[in-house]
Amino acid sequence: MPGVSSDSARGALVPLSPESPAAAVYPLRHGLKSPISRLSISWSRGNSLRVSVFAAPSSDGSVNDGDGGKVVEVKLGGGDGEISEAHWRRIAYGSVSPFALLQSRKNAVFSLSKFSMNSSPYDGDWWDYIMEYSKDINALLVNQKSASVPVLDDPKSVITKGEEPTSLKAAWELLEMFYAEKPSHSWLPERLVDWLADYDSLFSGTHPTVHSKLVDFQKELVNLQVVEDDPKYWEVMSSALAVGWLNIVVKMLRLHGSYRLDQLSNRETENGLVEAVAVLISKMPRMRLEHEAGKLGECYKAKPDFAWEKWRGQINKLDSSAFWFQCAHQQTREGLRSMLQIMLGNANSLCSATYNWIELYISHFLYMRPLTVGLESMYSLAQKSIQLKPMASAHRLMGLIIGILGENTEVVLAECLKGFGPWMVAHAIELLTAGSDHAEMLLHEERQNLGGISIEELHRLVYAQVLSSFPLTWQIAPIYLISCMKHGMVLLQRLLSKQPVQDNQLLLKSIEICRLYELHSVTSNIMKIAGVHHWKHGRKGSGVFWLQQARDEYRLNRIALQLFDSVGKTISDESFKQWEGLIQLLGSDSKTAGGLEFLHKYRDFKKSLRQIHDGKATDSARQAVESLISLMKNPSTPQRFWLPLLYDSLKLLNWKERPLLNVSQTNLLLNKLQELSMARLRPDFIESELPPQALNSVRLALGTNLGRAILEE
């Protein structure tokens, strides 16, 4: 960003400050074999940059292989790897109406609040609007590609696959959870548990996760005969228990060999212990409103202190029971007891059962501090979890979570931008400003270092620029641009002025958008360009049409003048039709070029002349004569056309059958001719391009006509 002058009202020029941060440097691949001699840079639509790279021309004239140059288009900020371009376009198109709806509601609320006494315009309705907005956008983020869902409830399948999750959806749900839902921090931990259940798989690429261990075990499960002998069975169950995936744990417990009918009699105690643990798990108290159907655990709306203590008491009782000594199978005994330790909130057990810090974090909420509220304590707990299980590499979702927990709006925005791109930031700002006055002030404040716009506006403009860079999405950029009061309109004008006009559909679309936002000068300019384009490419009718729409008198005048050039010349039928058509289109607007009225009349005259093919059709000839006389009498007929007119009508004047003009008419014409001869002596007279004997032939014809007419009378 260039340095801004302090006194921008007067528009002083300020040199670029040398302390601006170093520009980012990106290598560019061009594929040329020869060394480069020149570069040419040009900005294209939106934020795409086009670079022409020229190879050094060979000095010795030898044929070198390779091309003379390459042109590359650079778009920074490449898309999300998890989301296809088509899906991204669907998201972009689908987000437009929720965004526009929210803006109009916002405007309505603010204009109302000016009249009411409320200090804050946010009320119950407002939260509903925000939730509606958030849910509408969330629905767009559903990934269409879902892995196949197994229809049969295979008893040996521990994980069912639904849709493939994307980080974008995970991120949006996080933001919705923390910002769009009415302050309900008491249930946040539980929401996080559900969130992790849906999205733990996203971390599997870069971090070890419970989900990946489950998936691996699932593959082995098919081949296992005796599950309870495999140590992984117990490990995986402990891990799943630690993150609260109770259904999976219970299902896996029921795979235990002691349930098999043929084993039941021998391993009664063992089975009893397994079942006891399963029952305890399914009765775990959870602080949430309700469960989805089929999920395990007991739900409590308020702090379930009593139920929690009771449950823990039951676990302790089982832990210290004598039945363990009677359990013959060692792995079962140890495995179940470690699961009990997890349920009792043993820190070491939890740490060893989880793989990354988020899982450890979640497990703390479930077993160690199930009643935690308040974001500060959540944040410090998160930091502790990270210390215990440091991140191997950064993951965009992890960065986002830390930013949200830290209640730092700027960090959240930065993480969104870095990890998820301009779309995310432009739309998430609405959520961030929903309930927090501080965030609203921060994001709506006009900043000098940004040129006087707010952060919110900046991100909307950035997003609009991204949209403008692609031919399939530029049409939705206007909606975002007009929501920015300061720079939006000008950018919109630039966007529309740079649209090509060759394609009719695109042209009409551009004009429609211009009209919608009342950009009259841009509209007429686009039409002017279209008109000139058509005119010069042989489509004269379309050209005139568009120039008329643009009300471009200047060019229409010129066209009319060009049409005048055809007066008095013999032109082919094709050209005549075109000429006639153009006159028709131009209308008889008397402002242009001394009156197109003359041209119209001349056209009619010419038409009637053409109808006379042989020397016989007297009626049409008479008509032609009438037109001629009226033309010559008419004061709007420019003098320079008199001779051409008369020359054109030589046929009429030399009519074989009978003289078509009577005495007075012939006298009129002779007088005009005389006037013309006088005028030719003046210095500023323009000679029309006729053969030199034209004047004489006309004079002769008129003279003959006069003689014959007198004889007739």
């Binding site: 691949r29 040419s40 639509r45 086009r50 070198n64 003379g68 650079v74 399939l472 060759q502 490419h537």
Partner: protein
């Protein structure tokens, strides 16, 4: 991150995109001008649709004419000739590029830029003797007739004439903002042996006296005489 959109023929030395970024004009060392288009408006792959000889020598610069005046390109040759070529359909002939006009003077043209004002199309050409000429198009539908409107040197003091200047390159950029009540202006800089000519100055048209006046000099006192290679005017988005 980057995607190749076009491949230029051997000998290509300069290129310019038109106003909407849909056509590319490329000039080459053997005097040919190529026009590249994309077949499909949605695709971004450009191939040559026209190629014709514009000069005997090397084409050093190409510049598109604003679309309000047609589809046309101005080419500057190494010998300093400026020619304007336009894409036309005449009568029943097919679409082709025709020469509209050509300027040849004793001093070489170094750079040319076009601007659309309220009333007409203006062309600014910088010459190798340090002079700059402003031309105006008379007929909006024909690119043939240009009238010389002004001729001056790139110096603040208009009285003295710097003689015998020898300039290698020049660069011009018009102010893209042509709002109501604002006169058109452009910035001009030279790369020459005469320091007074070099520094970039902003020239604005004064309608009262029908002259071009320098309104600003964009150089710190230290590097006033430095050669200028390139200038560009940033679009104003509302500040």
């Amino acid at each position: 991150m980057e995607k190749p959109v076009a491949t230029l023929d051997k000998g290509a030395i300069c290129s310019a995109w038109n106003y909407c970024g849909q056509r590319l004009a490329a000039g080459s060392v053997d005097g040919y001008l190529s026009i590249l288009d994309s077949r499909d408006p949605l695709s971004s792959s450009f191939t040559s649709s026209f190629k014709f000889k514009v000069h005997e020598g090397c084409v050093v610069k190409v510049a598109w004419i604003p679309p309000e005046y047609g589809v046309a390109v101005a080419c500057i040759a190494e010998d300093g000739t400026l020619s304007i070529w336009e894409e036309l359909v005449e009568g029943t002939n097919p679409l082709e590029w025709k020469l509209c006009t050509s300027f040849k003077t004793s001093s070489k043209v170094l750079d040319v830029q076009f601007s659309v004002t309220q009333t007409s199309l203006k062309m600014v050409a910088a010459y190798s003797d340090g002079f700059v000429k402003v031309f105006e198009l008379l007929d909006p539908l024909e690119l043939k007739n240009w009238q010389l409107q002004a001729e001056f040197q790139n110096v603040i003091d208009s009285v003295t004439i710097v003689g015998k200047a020898s300039c290698l390159t020049a660069c011009i950029s018009w102010n893209p903002q042509n709002g109501e009540g604002q006169e058109s202006s452009f910035i001009l800089g030279f790369n020459s042996d005469t320091p007074q000519l070099n520094s970039p100055k902003v020239w604005e048209f004064d309608p009262a006296h029908q002259r071009w006046l320098p309104v600003a000099e964009l150089a710190l006192p230290v590097d006033k005489g430095d050669q200028i290679y390139s200038v560009a005017w940033a679009p104003n988005i509302g500040r």
